[in-house]
């Protein structure tokens, strides 16, 4: 568990981080979003002890990162934006070096390295020089070093940058599987990635927390209601009128018409007590409006992100 309280970091007159507070729970994947220069990497660097904050505290499993750095850092695995790799070492030499730094016991080392290398699929390049590996493999070695010592918390800064689509999917799968017994903070510019793996997201902008919530709650909060999109055949105004009187429906708009085919946008109040989709379906069926398409249409994470960060 990480507790971040009122974190501030000055760079000269500029406040790169300005009073950020949030908590990362056990076994949770937290997405960390924000436009370039919002303070994501600075915050991650402060959490890992790479940088010190001007004020505020970071507690890792109850240990303050500045007052008890060794205990706090023992629980953190960090993959920075640029993986910290020694290009003149082989993968195995490098991972052994990281085991030394993380004080992994000699008797556990062989088994741990074998497991981690199998997990990130680098066993076949174990004896190759890191400098000769492709970007994708280097990224995996970076993830492997973060996993050494089985830290309870993983902080991954843009872990899928430079990977091909199949590697991206693999890493996502890996991150999801890690969340079973790790807390993970993951920052990414790829919003679909955050949407695919994260339980909650923290959006920061200009060094401040702009929003913290689950993705679906953020979408609802943004729109104030959830939306449904429906395509029917028949008289559009008549259909809209019938749906509009259903309790819980805020508004019905005809978005597009093509002959007798109409696309309706139905706004549903968040106070609606039940799922109205069935009611709407039967209303249309009874009125004899053939339904060609029916889907929910909440704002995407992209829309939420753009709306929050302006």
């Amino acid at each position: 568990m990480i507790e971040i309280d009122n974190l501030v970091k000055h760079y000269g007159p500029k406040k790169a981080v300005n009073g950020i507070s949030f908590t990362v729970n056990d076994d949770e994947i937290l997405g960390f979003l924000g436009p370039n220069g919002a303070g994501k990497t600075t915050t991650m660097n402060i959490i890992t002890g790479y940088l010190s904050s001007t004020s505020g505290t970071v507690k890792v499993n109850g240990h303050d990162i500045l007052e008890e750095p060794e205990l706090a850092k023992k629980d953190i695995g960090y993959l920075p934006e640029q993986p910290p790799l020694y290009l003149d070492m082989t993968v195995l030499e490098y991972l052994n070096f990281m085991c030394d730094l993380k004080k992994v016991k000699k008797q556990d080392r062989k088994r741990m390295l074998a497991e981690i290398m199998a997990m990130v699929k680098i066993t076949d390049v174990a004896d190759r020089l890191i400098g000769n590996l492709s970007k994708g493999y280097k990224q995996r070695v970076g993830i492997a070093q973060a996993l050494i010592g089985n830290p309870k918390i993983l902080i991954l800064d843009e872990p899928t940058v430079g990977l091909d689509p199949s590697q991206v999917l693999e890493i996502r799968k890996l991150v999801k599987s890690l969340a079973k017994n790790h807390s993970v903070i993951i920052s990414s510019h790829i919003l679909s990635e955050i949407q695919a793996v994260c339980d909650r997201v923290v959006i920061i902008n200009n060094g401040k927390v702009a929003a913290i919530d689950t993705i679906s709650d953020l979408s609802k909060r943004l729109s104030g209601s959830s939306k449904l999109l429906m395509t029917i055949r028949g008289i559009g105004k008549d259909a809209a009128g019938r749906i509009g009187v259903i309790p819980g429906v805020n508004e019905v708009k005809i978005r597009r018409s093509d002959g007798d085919i109409h696309e309706l946008e139905i706004s549903i109040s968040n106070e609606a007590k039940s799922d109205l989709r069935e009611t709407i379906f039967f209303t249309m069926a009874q009125a004899g409006f053939p339904m060609l398409e029916f889907r929910s249409c909440d704002p995407t994470l992209e829309e939420v992100f753009l709306s929050i960060t302006g």
């Binding site: 000055h10 760079y11 002890g49 010190s52 953190i76 920075p80 640029q82 910290p84 030394d100 730094l101």
Partner: protein, 255 residues
């Protein structure tokens, strides 16, 4: 500390740095030795004393990448974000560089053995110069560590280290020049010539006090004392402490 030491020491042999330093040192010491052999009189103390003038080339080669390379490649994050202290990092790297000096020096030990075999004498003075060599090496490697922690450019680090060692090597010449300059200036400012000369001399003596070469010159003649060695070690600790503070400061950097 052990992990850092091991990595740094082995890294000298993963790239040309270690080989270049050893080859250069072996070549220079070999030339001195052969010259003495050809003259029919070998004095190890003279060889080791002459080798000290090459600190100015070898120390920058050995130390220039110690910290600057980590900063350039972003691998310094390893030292800040893992459960180790900056003291471990500085000492690990310093000891790795010192170990390379020890490896380089094996060549001189071979010369000592060869001298014995050829019926020559390796006197107390020779061992005195060997002791001084390592204490001076510690001082200069500590300066190299500081120069490397200042910047992320190996070249700039090497130049800073070079200039620093050059100043120390020329310290007695520089202090004498300063004495003359200050005395002349004060005389022109209507200060009594006796007073001006005593101020100039005091300045020269004060600066000369910092000269590690003068302090340790008697070791060559078999006259050992602890004070010069403590001076070298204290200065080395001072520069290593500055390196440590500089690296810690990076964490608090506001730029």
């Amino acid at each position: 500390m052990q992990a850092i030491f091991k990595r740094e020491f082995l890294s000298y042999f993963r790239n040309p740095t270690g080989y270049v330093a050893i080859a250069l040192f072996s070549f220079i010491s070999g030339v001195f030795f052969i010259m003495q052999v050809s003259q029919g009189q070998v004095e190890i103390a003279s060889e080791v004393t002459s080798l000290r003038s090459f600190f100015i080339v070898i120390v920058p080669i050995v130390t220039m990448g110690l910290f600057s390379e980590d900063r350039k490649r972003g691998t310094d994050v390893i030292y800040y974000a893992n459960p180790i202290t900056m003291f471990d990092v500085v000492m690990g790297k310093f000891l790795a560089a010192m170990s390379l000096f020890f490896i380089m020096f094996i060549n001189v030990f071979i010369h000592m053995i060869a001298t014995k075999i050829l019926g020559g004498k390796v006197g107390v003075g020779s061992w005195g110069t060997v002791i001084v060599f390592f204490f001076l090496a510690a001082l200069f490697v500590a300066i190299g560590c500081l120069a490397s922690a200042i910047t992320d450019s190996q070249i700039i680090s090497a130049i800073v280290c070079f200039v620093f060692i050059l100043i120390i090597q020329l310290i007695s010449t520089l202090s004498s020049l300063l004495n003359t300059a200050v005395t002349t200036l004060l005389t022109k400012m209507n200060v009594g010539s006796e007073q001006a000369s005593s101020i100039g001399s005091a300045l020269e003596n004060g600066i000369n006090w910092l000269d590690p070469f003068t302090k340790t010159k008697d070791f060559r003649y078999g006259s050992f004392s602890v004070a010069p060695l403590i001076f070298c070690i204290s200065m080395a600790i001072f520069f290593l402490y500055l390196t440590y503070r500089l690296l810690e400061k990076k964490r608090w950097s506001q730029s």
